[in-house]
């Protein structure tokens, strides 16, 4: 399995990368390569030119950005995994990252790469949608933003314009006393792409009721979905198990779930309800300070 021939360029900065992209619409950027290279060696992807953006220092950062945390597109997943700022400010992201692939792939894979690849089962797009992250890209010398909800529109399909290159993503930080997160996925083996995944972030008010909630489900449909109706129903409630279950069932009853050799559509639908329910329960416990943020070992 050898890739088809291509030209290789190393971009010194993002505008140079975009210039290469603009010059050839079969050119692609390469960062971590953990999903691009397998596609290339199987000859499913055949870029005529690879533009290596790994050395663009300006694209690798994690920083406080007002009421959010901004992460550069070429920041390695393993760096985000160990980052204290992310753990403190974007706990849902910290919770999800250990589930991405294996340590060896997180050592090279980047935040931007996974988002741009937009695999329906990938964890990062799910977190981005759940937290209403904003992605920024560069094209023709201009930087523009796309909210996560508008970015993912199909399986491996995004609204990143041709010739554009992701430069970063900004995760809003929920300010509040009692914030909790939950993340669950189901797969045959621990580090496979998920068959279904669910993410939840909850803010409890002083009265212990739900002040704010975000619930996302991934891998069940062509791109991750937010459960807006369930969120609306559950805001202001005590988030008791029954109410959560009912709201999730309603939200997920009619989804057009994916079916493949790994799981039926019915399985994905049911698992979505179950995992979302667990994610919410974990988030509640976490917000109540009852349970420490669960580590990656538990499903």
């Amino acid at each position: 399995m050898k890739a088809a021939p291509f030209e290789y360029s190393r971009a010194a900065d993002i505008d140079e990368a975009c210039a290469w992209l603009a010059a050839d619409d079969s050119a692609r950027v390469i960062a971590g390569g953990q999903t691009l290279v397998p596609m290339m060696v199987m000859r499913l992807a055949r870029p005529t030119r690879l533009i290596d953006i790994n050395r663009i220092a300006a694209l690798s950062y994690i920083r406080n950005d007002g009421d959010g945390v901004a992460i550069g597109a070429t920041t390695r997943q393993c760096v985000v995994e160990r980052d204290a700022l992310v753990a403190a400010q974007v706990p849902l992201l910290a919770r999800a990252i250990p589930n991405i692939g294996h340590a060896a792939t997180r050592a090279r894979g980047t935040i931007g790469g996974s988002l741009a690849n937009a695999d329906p089962a990938a964890e990062l797009p799910l977190i981005a949608i759940t937290l209403d992250a904003v992605l920024s890209y560069r094209a023709s010398g201009e930087t523009a933003e796309i909210p996560a909800r508008e970015f993912f529109i199909g399986p491996m399909i995004t609204t990143l314009p041709a010739g554009g290159c992701l430069v970063g993503v900004r995760f809003p930080v929920w300010q509040g006393e009692k914030i909790g997160v939950g993340f669950h996925e189901v797969n045959a083996r621990r580090s496979d792409f998920a068959f279904v995944s669910a993410a939840a972030q909850v803010e409890l008010g002083a009265d212990g009721k739900c002040k704010r909630i975000a619930i996302g489900v991934g891998a069940a449909t062509d791109f991750p979905m937010r459960l807006d109706s369930a969120e609306q129903q559950l805001t202001g409630s005590t988030l008791d198990a029954k109410a959560v279950d009912a709201a999730l069932r309603e939200a997920l009853a009619d989804i057009d779930a994916l079916a493949d050799l790994h799981a039926s559509a019915e399985y994905r639908r049911r698992a979505a309800i179950n995992l979302a329910s667990r994610a919410v329960a974990d988030a509640v416990s976490h917000a109540q300070g009852k349970k420490a943020q669960r580590n990656a070992d538990a499903h």
Partner: protein
């Protein structure tokens, strides 16, 4: 020979092969660079069945670095079809399809270029037009009258349909008060080594020699190359010192080798083909059994199973080499460890438009054990009896060995009840049940899995003659040569490849034991096929028995020669000569002795001191026939198959998340008895590895096809191999019941774990599902299938 009296055998010695592997100095086929070697890439058929209309090579040939594009017609004109096991002349098998391609992924053309990358570039440019043909994928459909034919000339899709009746089956069914029927499916899976098959072939027209370097595990490999290429077998030199990166049965490599052998002779330079993972999964040496069992048993109210009818329907794929014989080998242990009195066995092999299946570890015994063990569980359930107790009642008892089963094979020895007792002493069965019940109370589905299975070992492959009466092979050999050189150091040779079983260590240990010298002082070599004595290769869990046996006998010959030389030189009768630690002394006057160096001196340089008629030097060899072998089947289909029967008893605790269907093995104990253990590290490794393979087959692995005949699991992203996270900690409780048929009491262990783990996991899952009133008998037990089954059952129960 009891274990206490062994100096080296059964001691915890390091495996000498490990040294080269831990530093990355194994010599795998892809590590071998032959001067001017070129590389092959394959052009494959995208359809499950298609007539090949035109092949346009021009664009490919015009590409840089491309030397040749070979098509099936040219190859067919120059070679004979590959050897098959059954008598099916109208189902020929060739490396490249000629007029019709019969599975998606079948090789249609081969491109030769300076590099593999260039060959792949050119392979994309070979333009082939196809006319799509109807296809059939399901075995039950393929056997119906009017089914789409995979091979028109054969007239049907059935390669084999043979029924054996051993004993008074119908009478036993009539006489039994209870009956049970069960259908069990072993999904298409295999042992999938991390190294794919590869071969480098180089033809020297001056010496008329074809040098072959391959990652191979194939009996009669040189013979088959010779036959297909129409060159004498003395023109084929297979290099046995290539390290094989795992095989576990599958690396038969014959279509690759004939292809490369032809190309090197045609083109005049060495040619190499290393399957890439896609070529391997779709059309290489990768697939294994896909077997549907229909089992009927007749039993009484005490759970004693008197008689069994079994139909095994195998989906062989589009062609067949040896693979249909995988239906025959289990005949030698068709009743497992049980005293079932009569058996009817119908073996049916059908072709479909799926990838051809190769031999897999156990050669069909694993699937058969699954069917047997699921049946025993269901018999227990039908009677409300304990599943362990049922097995104890049906098992052959220690004192009943040697025990002849209805199909004519005599089991050598065993102590199944003791093995079970030892496991239960380690893990209390009642406590395990309590743990299961606690998990159930916590809302999980939980089950205990039991499997009691045999590992036939020794490789007496009389199933060939059973399934194809035209075959009269009753010889299954292995060999060892030992020579002491003029300086007194010892070299021993083995005559086949290995894929991690530690055969060099085995040889050193056995020879060292007999000669009473340090095993690590013995050099072990692997001469090529022209310098080799006969070997049946490491199949059928045979090498401890056969290579160990040949080495043992050769070493005794050497010891006898040394003793004779010493006695003669000491001037004493042979009976007074004592051999100990390489020294021969006078029993009556021990101060009179000849040292190892003295004996070597005499043998090599002092002919005047040699006994009359004895050859000078110290070279011996032994070619050994398989113990208990040498007979052919009787007219009613009875025959002695393998000589030795190892036993394994698996005890598992498994939990299933009822909402997600995710299975988790919480406890794993296995009792294992392979007779005398020559090297404990090696045997443990085999058992652990076999269990990992078994867990994969039970829960994760499947070569799944879609309705269009396309393999859905084409890469490791979809064919899921167990990682360290999916294999739980396993405790092995070893027991030794020596075999009376072998030199040291050893039995085989090469298939250990794999032959029982899938049955144990399947039984655990079914025990877990039992409270819901459902069962599942199709492997792999994928979590989504379990999830769907559980949801359906709960819905029915109004949950």
């Amino acid at each position: 020979m009891s274990a206490d009296r062994h100096r080296y055998v059964s001691t915890d010695r390091r495996v000498r092969e490990d040294r080269r592997f831990v530093v990355g100095k194994g010599q795998f086929v892809a590590d071998i660079d032959l001067p001017h070697m070129r590389h092959v890439a394959l052009v494959t058929c995208p359809y499950p069945a298609a007539r090949i209309k035109t092949i346009d090579k021009s664009a490919a040939l015009a590409m840089p670095g491309v030397h040749y594009v070979l098509d099936g017609h040219e190859l067919a004109e120059a070679t004979l079809p590959l050897m098959t096991g059954l008598d099916t002349p109208n189902v020929p098998r060739r490396p490249l399809a000629t007029d019709v391609a019969r599975y998606a992924g079948e090789w249609v053309a081969a491109v030769v270029a300076d590099t593999r990358a260039l060959a792949e570039d050119a392979a994309e440019k070979v333009r082939i037009t196809y006319e799509k043909l109807p296809f059939v994928l399901d075995a039950e459909q393929a056997i119906q009258a009017g089914a789409v034919l995979v091979h028109q000339a054969h007239g049907s899709n059935v390669l084999l349909d043979k029924t054996f009746v051993w004993g008074e089956v119908e009478q036993d069914f009539k006489d039994s008060p209870r009956h049970l029927s069960l259908r069990v499916k072993w999904g298409r899976s295999a042992t999938v080594p991390i190294e794919t098959f590869g071969v480098a072939a180089s033809w020297d027209p001056w010496r008329e020699m074809l040098d072959v370097y391959a990652s191979i595990q194939m009996p009669r490999y040189a013979d088959q190359i010779s036959i297909a290429l129409k060159i004498p077998v003395t023109s084929v030199r297979v290099h046995h010192d290539v390290d094989v990166g795992g095989s576990y049965g599958v690396k038969r490599g014959i279509k690759h080798t004939v292809l490369c052998g032809y190309l090197t002779r045609r083109l005049g330079f060495p040619v190499r083909l290393i399957e890439d993972r896609l070529e391997n999964m779709r059309g290489g040496d990768a697939h294994g059994p896909e077997r549907l069992f229909d089992v009927d048993v007749a039993f009484d109210d005490n759970g004693i199973v008197r008689s069994m009818k079994m139909r095994a329907l195998e989906n062989v794929g589009a062609y067949a080499g040896r693979s249909p014989f995988q239906l025959g080998k289990p005949i030698g242990a068709i009743v497992g460890p049980y005293k079932i009195k009569s058996v009817q066995y119908r073996a049916v092999a059908v072709v479909t438009n799926k990838t051809t299946q190769e031999a897999v570890r156990g050669f069909g015994q694993g699937p058969t054990n699954l069917a047997l063990e699921r049946t025993m569980d269901e018999v227990a359930n039908a009677l409300g009896l304990d599943r362990l107790e049922i097995r104890r009642r049906n098992m052959i008892r220690h004192e009943e060995f040697p025990y002849t089963i209805p199909s004519g094979t005599t089991y050598d020895s065993g102590d199944y009840h003791t093995v079970i007792d030892k496991v239960l002493a380690n893990t209390n069965y009642e406590d395990l049940k309590k743990e299961r019940d606690r998990l159930r109370a916590d809302g999980k589905l939980a089950g205990i899995g039991i499997a009691a299975c045999l590992e036939p070992s020794g490789g007496n492959a009389t199933f060939e003659a059973l399934l194809n009466p035209a075959i009269t092979t009753s010889t299954f050999m292995d060999s060892c040569r030992i020579s002491v050189d003029g300086m007194g150091t010892i070299t021993a040779s083995m005559h086949t490849t290995s894929s991690g079983q530690g055969h060099e260590t085995l040889l050193g240990t056995v020879i060292g034991e007999v000669l009473q010298v340090d095993p690590d002082s013995i050099r072990v070599t692997r001469p090529d096929s022209l310098n080799s004595l006969p070997s049946g290769t490491p199949v059928g869990s045979r090498m401890a028995i056969m290579l160990g046996g040949a080495a043992f006998h050769a070493a005794h010959k050497l010891k006898a020669k040394l003793t004779t030389i010493g006695a003669h030189d000491l001037g004493i009768p042979l009976e007074r000569a004592v051999y100990k630690d390489g020294i021969v002394s006078d029993r009556d006057a021990p101060q009179n002795k000849r040292s190892w160096g003295d004996l070597v001196q005499i043998a090599f340089r002092n002919y005047h001191r040699m006994p009359d008629g004895l050859e000078p030097g110290l070279a011996v060899s032994h070619v050994m026939q398989v113990p208990t072998g040498g007979t052919l089947p009787t007219p009613d289909g009875r025959v002695q198959m393998y000589p030795c029967f190892s036993f394994e008893f698996h005890l598992i605790l498994l939990a299933i998340d009822p909402d997600l269907g995710t299975p988790e093995i919480l406890r794993y104990r296995v009792g294992h008895d392979c007779g005398t253990v020559i090297n404990p590290k090696i045997v443990r490794g085999m058992t652990m590895g076999g269990i990992a393979h078994g867990i994969g087959a039970a829960l994760y692995e499947e070569f799944a096809y879609d309705g269009e005949g396309q393999l859905m699991a084409q890469s490791f992203m979809d064919y899921l191999l167990p990682s360290s996270r999916e294999v739980p900690a396993v405790e092995i409780i070893q027991h030794v019941t020596p075999s009376p048929n072998t030199v040291l009491g050893q039995k085989g262990a090469g298939e250990s774990g794999y032959l029982g783990a899938p049955a144990a996991v399947a039984n655990a899952v079914n025990d877990a599902l039992k409270p819901l009133g459902v069962s599942i008998n199709t492997l792999p037990l994928k979590l989504s299938k379990l999830g769907d089954l559980i949801a359906e059952a709960r819905a029915k129960k109004g949950n």
